[in-house]
């Protein structure tokens, strides 16, 4: 038989003369009462061992990871405002908006624009004499049509 593996004869001889020590009858008299008491107390609490600690740590790590990606990472990396997700979730090309400039950049643009404007005006207007001539011409043009009517 498969379950009847041979044991060394000397060892078998030893084992035949001993047995597991059985509990005394006095010790076992209240056994069933003890089991019933444990059942009445309710389901035994599950032990808090290594598997439970490992599960809690794993869940904590996942939660921390999610919190990082949800709150911290987007603000530090910065999403491209020109790329707007559509309702179906696909990203579209750049939106027709002017790129946002920093204050320094805006100041630089305004200064550049102001210098250019000033130079153009000066080119057109020339010096003070020219301005006086232009004013006189304005007056002439102003009065001529009225005389004509």
């Amino acid at each position: 038989m498969a379950n009847q593996e041979p044991l060394a004869p000397e060892l078998e001889q030893l084992i035949k003369q001993v047995k597991l020590k059985e509990p005394s009858k006095e010790r076992m008299t209240d056994y069933l009462a003890g089991v019933n008491a444990k059942i009445d107390r309710g389901a035994p609490p599950t032990s808090f061992g290594f598997p439970q600690v490992a599960v809690i740590l794993a869940v904590g790590l996942v939660m921390a990871g999610l919190a990082y990606f949800y709150w911290i990472r987007p603000s530090s990396v910065g999403a491209d405002p020109r790329v707007r997700p559509q309702e179906n979730g696909q990203a579209q090309g750049p939106a027709p908006t002017t790129p946002s400039l920093s204050i320094e950049e805006e100041m630089a643009v305004l200064e550049a624009f102001g210098e250019e404007y000033d130079s153009e005006i000066q080119d057109l207007l020339g010096d003070d004499e020219t301005l006086e001539e232009l004013a006189q011409l304005d007056e002439i043009e102003f009065f001529l049509p009225s005389k004509a009517f």
């Binding site: 084992i15 001993v18 047995k19 089991v35």
Partner: protein, 207 residues
């Protein structure tokens, strides 16, 4: 008239909340359950408590018990796991014993074997058998945990190999391998010194 009811029927009744039926199952297997726990814990009081816990767990887990399995094997597996759990806790508690002043007898190891009484032994033979039992117990305690458990369940609790495998939750082949290794180790621990002693006696006798 006391009619012996099958485990299946008693389990069925216990599932429906019949505590008396479960009580019959407890009385039927209480001694064996204590012995299984005792094999792990080597302490009768702890073994009794662990096996009672196991019975309570079995009661609450009856809904999970598959009817095609044997109740006895399922129960002993719970007993074994509970005893192993208690053993681990006691072992970790033992680490703090050094600093702790309170020493209780509850957690101390006891002898798990006893000599089968016989009227045919002379006092000298009785003494030799007692000595042999102590040597066997010391040798069993020297085995690695799994080999010791397999050996005790198979040869001292009288389980079939398949029963040992189901109780420990391991394959039959693994049980056989542990048995083979354990037996070899026991032979080397027990029989070689005995041979040396007998040879020593012969030499002394020869001189």
């Amino acid at each position: 008239m006391d009619i012996v009811q099958s485990d299946e029927l008693l389990v069925q009744k216990a599932r429906q909340g019949n505590r008396d039926a479960f009580g019959v199952l407890v009385r039927r297997y209480q001694t064996q359950a204590v012995l299984v726990a005792q094999s792990v814990l080597k302490n009768m009081e702890l073994a009794k408590d662990a096996s009672q816990n196991a019975f309570a767990k079995a009661y609450f887990g009856l809904s999970k018990f598959r009817q095609d399995a044997q109740f006895k094997t399922w129960l002993f597996r719970i007993v074994f796991n509970e005893a192993t759990d208690v053993y681990r806790k006691e072992k970790s508690r033992g680490l703090f014993k050094f600093w702790s002043a309170r020493e209780t007898e509850e957690g101390e190891e006891e002898s798990i074997l006893e000599v089968i009484p016989s009227n045919n032994r002379s006092p000298r033979e009785e003494f030799e058998v007692q000595e042999m039992k102590e040597r066997l117990e010391r040798a069993i305690n020297q085995l690695p945990a799994r080999e010791r458990e397999v050996f005790l369940l198979r040869y001292l609790n009288g389980f079939e190999i398949s029963g040992v495998a189901e109780t420990l939750g391991i394959a039959v082949g693994t049980v056989k391998a542990h048995l083979a290794h354990g037996t070899e180790k026991l032979k080397s621990i027990l029989l070689v010194p005995a041979k040396l002693r007998s040879e020593g006696r012969n030499i002394q006798g020869g001189d």
